[in-house]
Amino acid sequence: MMIHFCKSAVIMTQNRTVVDRIYGFFASMRLSLFLFGALAITSIFGTLIPQEITSEQRLRQFGPKLNALIELLDLGDMYHSWWFRLLLILLSANLIVCSMRRLPKTLKALRAGRKMMTPSRIEKMHLHGRVELPTSPQESKTLISNLLSSRFTKCVWQQQEGQYFAVAEKGRWGRLGVYFVHLSVLLVFAGALVGSLFGFRGFMTIPEKTSESHVHLRREGQVIPLDFEVRCDKFTVAFYDNGSPKEFRSDVSILVDGRVVKQAAIRVNDPFTFRGINFYQSTYGSQPTNIVLKLENVSNGKSQQLEVPFRQPITIPGSKDRLVIMDYADNIGNFGPAFYIGMARENQEPDSGWIVAKQPGFHGNRLDGLRINVLKYANSYYTGLEVKKDPGVWLIYLGFVLMLLSLIFALYQSHRRVWLALTPGQKGTAVHIAGNTNKHALAFEKDFQQLVHDIENMKPDSQRT
């Protein structure tokens, strides 16, 4: 029976130590400091290794050996890697456990600090002083309490057998501010989590006069359909005299079931929101539209005209030949604007090449036995919009506001306390004073000495009343 009991006790203590150890690990300041350091040092790698490039580009830049290492450690996209996320999760756990463990202690210390101190205890404090006053303890009490009430927000007196004790304090929030700073960091993390779980981030390219209702996600490569259409009515770019850009502006209409319900202008720094989805001016470009080609068969002289969309393969009518306009350039080898066309004719090898638009007689304007001329085309802008839905942003902003307010308290509000004991002395009253603060010790020391000095030189003007 006895042995059995011991065994279970041992198991119990073992269990407790394991839990305690884990708890202690997460509550330790050492972990916080380690995480600050680890996050800072690993982040440096993230700024040295380009994050948004493809693995081929990285292979060219770093060579096979270094690239293999980078891929192994996920350094090419390290801020989204499992180990960087783990560091952030550890930091959150550390913040929560640390705060949970310290908050009760802080509250207890705040309460305990209201206990009175005897002269002998006061003399054991680091910062203390002693003053002899000619007035009686009771008169001294009245005088001193006037002095204290002008310098501290809260002052409590106690009387015991002709002796008076006091505690005065100021700035209790200085001790609690840090917990709100920690809470604000957690709010920001929570906002980021909500955003990544329930939001998306992608882009839309919309040529002028056309509409688009699909968002291409950057990271996942997915396409998200919207329940409305965005039509780009007009894109304008304005320049300063020195040639630098002045304004990028997209005039858009929102269409629901084909009907325009809203119109807006989207500029850089001036986004537009519809149904919780935000649109930001991001890029722009120009692309050819209304391209009309003339195809002439070199061997039999037959020709035909047709309008070809940009970057969409078509089958040439009356044949099984396929054609696609793959690219456009403003100026190719000083021959002017040109289209890069791919051609796959029946029973022939596929061919591709640049077709010069403004010089119809150019000898290179032929592919697979077809002479190709660009009869007409127009240039139009397309706008590139960043599209984002982020239901976590309000949490982030709440965290920001809380962080700034509580940082001010945590960094600048010092919790100052003085304890006094007034006992009958040789001249009248012996005043023992001790002081304590949680920050700005040097400034407090000066103020404390000033307080002691002021008590010593109090004018007993209350006698007149």
């Binding site: 600050f36 040295l48 940082l407 960094l411």
Partner: protein, 282 residues
């Protein structure tokens, strides 16, 4: 008078102030120290006027904006912030021995901005990305923070010199005697770091809110953003180690120096060595 002439005058006013501070400190020449203080305040006043004048001039050119938009303007504002933070510290702690360092730094920054051929000093119109009221809040808070960290770093160096030279029995060479006591230096480092940390936090937050309104992304791990976070983490490390674990003295001084190297890299290194959203700041 044009703002660039005014700012050139400021450059030499700071040089004069730095020399006077040096003379006052090294030769215990009281008149020089007094002259230094007056010159430094006068320089700051002219500097403020110069920045405001440049602001006005940009409106006269037809594309008015706050003068915080390119590398030249950021150097000028950085120097202004360093002098302001130093003079406030000096005013509060009534010690005039330290002025040679911050005024020297301000002089060098101003001289580099005004006379280096690689720094474009013309007032340029704002590119669309910078057209926001957040620009002013973001730049002012960041640079005041950087300036406080710069002063903390200088104090950290002085702390280490004074600590290594002055054993309790040997008060050290004359020049060190006139520095504030070890305890005061330690406290001053801490005070400046606290102020810098608060301002850097505001700077990062305003930048984040701005990025969200311009690009829809409050944090994109752009190198400048990341380096400002690294800096923030270093100072968070410093504040926690002091508040909770009670670190003082040498360790604080070293952390103040390391932290300021991160600030310098965030400011210069990222612009010149890495690319990203802030590349217009070249």
């Amino acid at each position: 008078m044009s703002s660039s002439l005014l700012l050139s005058i400021v450059t030499f006013t700071y040089l004069l102030a730095a020399l006077c501070y040096g003379a006052g400190w090294l030769f215990r020449f009281k008149m020089a120290a007094r002259l230094a203080i007056w010159t430094a305040w006068a320089g700051l006043l002219l500097h403020t006027a110069g920045i405001i004048l440049r602001w006005v001039e940009s409106y006269q050119l037809g594309f008015g904006h706050a003068p915080f938009a390119n590398f030249y303007e950021s150097l000028v504002f950085g120097a202004w912030a360093v002098v302001l933070i130093y003079l406030l510290t000096e005013f509060r702690y009534r010690n005039y021995a330290l002025g040679v360092f911050p005024l020297g730094v301000a002089f060098l920054a101003m001289a580099y901005a005004s006379f280096s051929p690689s720094v474009e000093s013309k007032i340029q119109p704002l590119i669309p990305a910078l057209k926001s009221n957040w620009l002013i809040a973001h730049v002012i808070t960041c640079f005041l923070g950087y300036a406080a960290f710069a002063v903390a770093c200088g104090l950290g160096v002085l702390y280490l010199i004074k600590k290594s030279r002055a054993a309790p029995a040997n008060p050290g060479p004359g020049v060190l005697q006139h520095l504030p006591s070890i305890q005061t230096l330690d406290e001053l480092i801490y005070q400046n770091v606290v102020f810098g940390f608060l301002l850097l936090s505001v700077g990062i937050i305003t930048g984040s809110v701005w990025a969200n309104s311009a690009w829809g992304n409050y944090w994109s791990w752009d190198p400048k953003e990341t380096w400002s976070l690294i800096t923030w983490l270093v100072y968070a490390f410093m504040l926690h180690s002091r508040m909770v674990r009670g670190w003082h003295g040498r360790r604080m001084a070293w952390l103040a120096i390391i932290g300021f190297f991160c600030v310098l890299f965030t400011y210069f290194g990222v612009n010149f060595l890495l690319s990203g959203l802030h590349s217009y700041a070249r």
